[in-house]
């Protein structure tokens, strides 16, 4: 078995910019991004396609060179170091298994160039295959494996090098849903068992929430928010993050001063006090998750008045669309026995820790 990795190192970006083409007409794939990924953690780069997350990953790998800024792995400045000389390995979206080599040869490939002798190489490669549960497949060619198995070979191939940082570029996008859940749990388990630093790129927010210690959400070449899954979900910094991660109702509101760091939020006839989060007085945006909406009897005081538009039973809960003066709200209710029928008048309030003010 492989030992916990003592070499896991942090990754730091300091004002990194990547420009394709000329400064005037070129595309800014990554724009003045600074981030810090601690050793031994799994951090996800999440964002819609074209947001710069893959470019960021490739700059960690050394497959792209930043136009500007500094990249560090551990204490070492690796900004100009090519991929070969970095102690980083990567699992590709296409797996990039060498079609002319057997599974064992694929897994041994990197070890061969790392100064291990023959017996040690074979031993480590086999340990890696064992770790991903493919110990008996060593002589097969990649084309003789299923998609999930190919994926695991790719993981084993990267793992056995015990890299300072392990990179995943949308590793699950070619797998079916069930396998995806299984493999992502395996990846997380291996990461924690071996204490690896992992940087993981995906555009699937559920995947990101499930595996990450921290998530860095990117949009339009910059970082939109950087935090734990719970932070992102419960306190999205801005409209983009609230919208991109999970589902959210985003409502226009008016805020005014109320005590230290707090603000009074007015939504039509409904008023509540929330942390201000640096929003100035006046117009603002409020984000509320569907499961944080409380539905009560019509006519209750300090609430929004609404009418049920749609009610859908999805087994574990009800999904409701409620029409209010502020627009349609999307809500879920765990009370599957509640008799909400389209047309019913209801009142709507928000759970205490649910809604957050957003920076537009």
């Amino acid at each position: 078995m492989l030992e916990p990795n003592s070499k896991a190192a942090s990754v730091t970006f300091d004002g990194v910019t990547k420009l394709y083409g000329s400064a005037a007409t070129g595309v800014r794939a990554v724009d003045n991004v600074s981030l810090n990924i601690e050793a031994g953690t799994l951090v996800t780069l999440l964002g819609p396609s074209g947001c710069g997350k893959t470019t960021t990953l490739r700059m960690i790998a050394g497959l792209e060179m930043p136009t500007d800024g500094i990249v560090r792995i551990g204490d070492q400045n690796v900004t100009k170091l090519p991929a070969t000389d970095r102690d980083v390995s990567m699992v590709f979206q296409s797996y990039a298994l060498f079609p002319h080599m057997s599974v064992l040869e694929n897994v041994s490939y990197g070890l061969k160039f790392s100064g291990f002798n023959k017996s040690e190489t074979a031993q480590r490669a086999r340990a890696g295959l064992e770790l991903v549960g493919l110990a008996n497949y060593d002589t097969r060619l990649p084309s003789e494996l299923s998609g999930g198995q190919q994926q695991r070979v790719a993981v084993a191939r990267a793992l056995v090098l015990e890299p300072q940082v392990l990179l995943f570029d949308e590793p699950l996008s070619n797998l079916d849903a069930k396998l995806r859940r299984q493999v992502r749990e395996e990846i997380r388990e291996i990461q924690q068992k071996l204490g690896l630093t992992v940087v993981y790129v995906t555009h699937d927010q559920e995947e990101a929430l499930a595996v990450s210690d921290r998530i860095i959400v990117m949009n339009n070449a910059v970082i939109a928010q950087d935090g734990t899954p719970r932070d992102l979900f419960e306190a999205p910094a801005n409209r983009f993050v609230a919208d991109f991660i999970g589902e959210a109702n985003i409502l226009d509101c008016e805020i005014s001063a109320a005590g230290e760091g707090m603000a009074t939020v007015k939504l039509g006839g409904y008023q509540l006090d929330l942390p201000r989060r640096d929003n100035p007085d006046g117009k603002s945006l409020l984000g509320v998750r569907p499961n944080r909406i409380i539905i009560g009897k019509a006519g209750a005081s300090n609430s929004l008045q609404g009418r049920i538009l749609r009610s859908t039973y999805v087994g574990s809960h009800l999904e409701l669309t409620i029409s209010t003066d502020l627009g349609d709200l999307f809500a879920t209710s765990d009370d599957v026995d509640a008799p909400y029928a389209p047309g019913n008048e209801v009142s709507v309030t928000f759970a205490e820790s649910g809604p957050v003010l957003l920076n537009s």
Partner: protein
């Protein structure tokens, strides 16, 4: 695993290596060319190290005689200060760039400035005063030192972060650029400059236009029953040959890969035949069949009771011969492409309710576009540059390549006209090149990704299979006939006069005697035969290597000036051998590179003549390998050289084989450049045969050709065995039994 500081002293093994090479070149090895091969070590006994002929540069400079070599010492010592510095230290790169560039520049500058008669340029003599000393062509020492400077420079450039700081890639680019500049651009520019030279040895533009607008070049007389200009003839011929060879090559590739045809191996072998045939042999065989007294012509004339004509001389004959000669090239290019189309794409199309024919038309064929375009381009350029067939069969049908030959060796001896014709020829080939780029556009044709691909190629639809079979069948029959004629001809005492069978031609050429001292090669052909084998065996791997490295750089790396780079590497292919031959003689007859009359000039000319085929074959195959394969190898700690060796090369075996076979065979069969470059010591088979033909000794010529064909067949088989195949686990064998 971690490449850290404790290895400081050996942090730059490549740099250290080249420094040692540079020192060896400067301090140890003879600076100028020596009489025999450097490996005979006879120079050791000829007054080394002080005698002028064999002295290393250091000893030349030491005596205060050739003081212009002295500055090089500084540039060889400078890099020592870079050796101990980290790669990310800007000073490391700076030192290397300065020492490399100045050292290389100085070496070149002194080489061109000072020749066998002292100063090469008048103004230098007046500036520095007359020079008593002189120098000869550069030798092993100078070459090694120059290489050391070059790679120092490229390492410095890599150190500054060019191409992701990749030493191998920058070095490879620098190397290819340098050799292409030295052996393609320099001689060609040298030659083209003469297009502007008047009889009084001054430069003039009017001289050029006068020759350019010549009626013999652009006339359209053939529409009025007269003769057309050579330019039009070449163009029309090349377009026809390009289309027809591509179509035939595709038909063969499809028969071999996509049908249940049982004799694929036979067909494969058969299509290789014309490529291993010296070009003029096909011309001769066609005359034997279709000439005025040819078998077929006679038969048809008797049968229809009409008089025989000389119809085959001119366009028809040249066209037939060129198609016979160049279809195999298209086949070799296309077979890799047809095999490379990912079966899963075709399977995907079939599951999307496309039938076999629709799949072929909408998926397979479009994915083969790069291959088709490459095949056409090769056919077009080969036809433009072909010299042997138009010479034998052209009659009154003038083409550019033969016109160039006659402009130089003929009574007219007009170097300027030859240069102008070469410019026109170059214009056509470049236009074809750009047309190809335009047609391919920016679409992606990547079909082999990093995922294991286990699909099965579908068989051809019946509506296509039959025409393909028929075309391939007729062509095969025709090819067999041609070769039967050649073999038969070699046993006939005197064709058309005394048709008795005899071995005498073989005996004259290849007799040997067993004596006490061993075997005596008494036949008249042995000399040229061994030389040819030796030169071809040296040239082939070098050509394949340079070609594939270039293809790798073009498909896998991005760097400034890549388009110019591609153009440069393809240029030598667009220039007919006659021009290459003449320009080489002019350029390399004098220092600093003095190799006329040696075997080196033959090897060099073969490398640069045939390299583009390796490049094209490599590009066609490599553009089907997904880039994530390289990248994953790089992130696994292999450097780009190791990646090239372990990942790219094994997946490129078909392309390697194509490049090796082609360059070996072309080195043995080439004639146009060779005829200018051979010497008494290094005579090649083809020029020997031409000599026999000129003496009307057809029997011996054909017998020699037959022997060459057999030898090349064996060589091709041997290469196939050596290179082998890479198993990537497609279910090929199963599929054939299942379907």
């Amino acid at each position: 695993m971690v490449k850290t500081s404790h290895q400081q002293a050996f942090a730059h093994p490549t740099l250290l290596l080249w420094l040692i090479v540079g020192w060896a070149g400067f301090f140890l090895l003879p600076w100028y060319g020596v009489e025999d091969s450097i490996f005979t070590f006879t120079w050791m006994t000829e007054g080394y190290p002080t005698d002028d002929d064999v002295a290393p540069a250091f000893f030349h400079a030491l005596g205060g005689r050739k003081i212009w070599l002295l500055p090089l010492v500084a540039f060889l010592i400078g890099p020592l200060f870079a050796l101990r510095r980290d790669k990310s230290d800007p000073l490391h790169a700076k030192i290397l760039i300065i020492c490399g560039a100045l050292g290389f520049g100085w070496l070149i500058a002194q080489g061109f400035s000072i020749g066998i008669r002292g100063w090469n340029f008048q103004w230098m003599a007046s500036l520095f005063g007359p020079l008593e000393d002189r120098q000869f062509g550069m030798g092993t020492g100078a070459m090694l030192t120059a290489s050391a400077f070059l790679f120092m420079l490229t390492q410095g450039i890599a150190g500054r972060g060019a191409v992701n700081g990749d030493i191998f890639v920058v070095g490879a680019i620098g190397f290819v650029v340098t050799i292409v500049a030295a052996f393609v651009f320099y001689p060609i520019l040298n030659m083209l400059a003469s297009a502007f030279v008047t009889q009084e040895k001054t430069y003039s533009v009017t001289v050029f236009f006068e020759k350019f607008t010549d009626r013999r070049l652009w006339g359209l007389g053939c529409f009025e029953g007269g003769r057309c200009g050579a330019a039009w003839n070449s163009l029309i011929l090349a377009i026809l040959v390009g289309f027809l060879t591509t179509a035939l090559g595709l038909a063969f590739a499809l028969v071999v890969t996509r049908t249940g045809f049982r004799f694929k191996k036979v067909l494969r072998a058969l299509t290789v035949l014309p490529i291993i045939t010296p070009p003029f042999v096909i011309g001769l065989a066609i005359i034997l069949l279709f000439g005025l007294s040819g078998n077929v012509t006679r038969f048809v004339a008797d049968f229809l009771d009409i008089s025989a004509t000389r119809w085959v001389y001119g366009m028809p004959g040249v066209l037939i011969a060129q198609i016979l000669a160049f279809t195999p090239i298209a086949f070799l290019v296309l077979i890799g492409v047809v095999e490379g189309v990912s079966p899963s794409m075709e399977e995907a199309a079939q599951t999307l309710r496309a039938d076999k024919w629709q799949t072929f038309k909408t998926v397979t064929l479009p994915l083969m576009r790069p291959g088709l375009a490459n095949a056409f381009l090769l056919g077009f350029i080969e036809s433009m540059a072909d010299f042997g067939n138009p010479l034998v069969l052209g009659g009154n049908f003038d083409v550019l390549s033969t016109e160039i030959f006659f402009a130089i060796v003929g009574a007219q001896y007009d170097q300027g006209r030859a240069a102008v014709l070469a410019i026109v020829l170059l214009g056509f080939t470049l236009a074809a090149f750009w047309a190809q780029r335009f047609w391919l556009g920016k679409k992606s044709y990547t079909t082999m990704t990093g995922k294991g691909d286990s699909g099965v190629h579908p068989l051809l639809p019946n509506s296509l299979a039959w025409p393909v079979f028929v075309v391939a069948g007729i062509w095969t029959l025709f090819t067999i006939t041609i070769y039967v004629m050649i073999v038969y001809g070699s046993f006939v005492e005197l064709w058309g006069v005394r048709n008795t069978l005899t071995f005498k031609h073989y005996v004259t050429a290849f007799s040997m005697k067993l004596t006490d001292g061993g075997i005596h090669w008494t036949g008249s052909a042995w000399d040229s035969f061994w030389t040819t084998l030796q030169i071809a065996a040296i040239a082939a791997p070098l050509t394949a290597a340079v070609g594939l490295v270039t293809a790798y750089l073009l498909t896998r790396q991005n760097f400034a000036g890549k388009n110019a780079f591609e153009f440069g590497t393809m240029l030598s292919f667009a220039i007919p051998g006659t021009v290459i031959g003449v320009s080489y003689i002019l350029a390399f007859n004098v220092p600093p590179i003095e190799i006329t009359g040696t075997g080196i000039i033959l090897v060099v000319s073969f490398i640069f003549r045939n390299m583009p085929v390796g490049v094209r074959a490599g590009i066609a195959s490599m553009s089907q390998l997904d880039k994530s394969l390289d990248e994953s190898s790089l992130t696994l700690g292999a450097n780009s050289w190791q990646t090239f060796l372990n990942v790219i090369l094994p997946l490129l075996k078909p392309a390697i084989l194509a490049a090796l076979v082609y360059s070996f065979v072309r080195a043995m069969t080439a004639i146009s450049a060779v005829i200018f470059l051979v010497s008494a010591e290094y005579n090649m088979a083809t020029s020997y045969i031409i000599g026999r033909v000129e003496n009307n000794d057809y029997g011996l010529a054909i017998a020699y050709c037959t022997t060459l064909i057999v030898v090349m067949l064996l060589a091709v088989a041997l290469l196939q065995l050596l290179v082998g195949r890479t198993n990537i686990g497609r279910r090929l064998n199963q599929s054939r039994t299942n379907v």
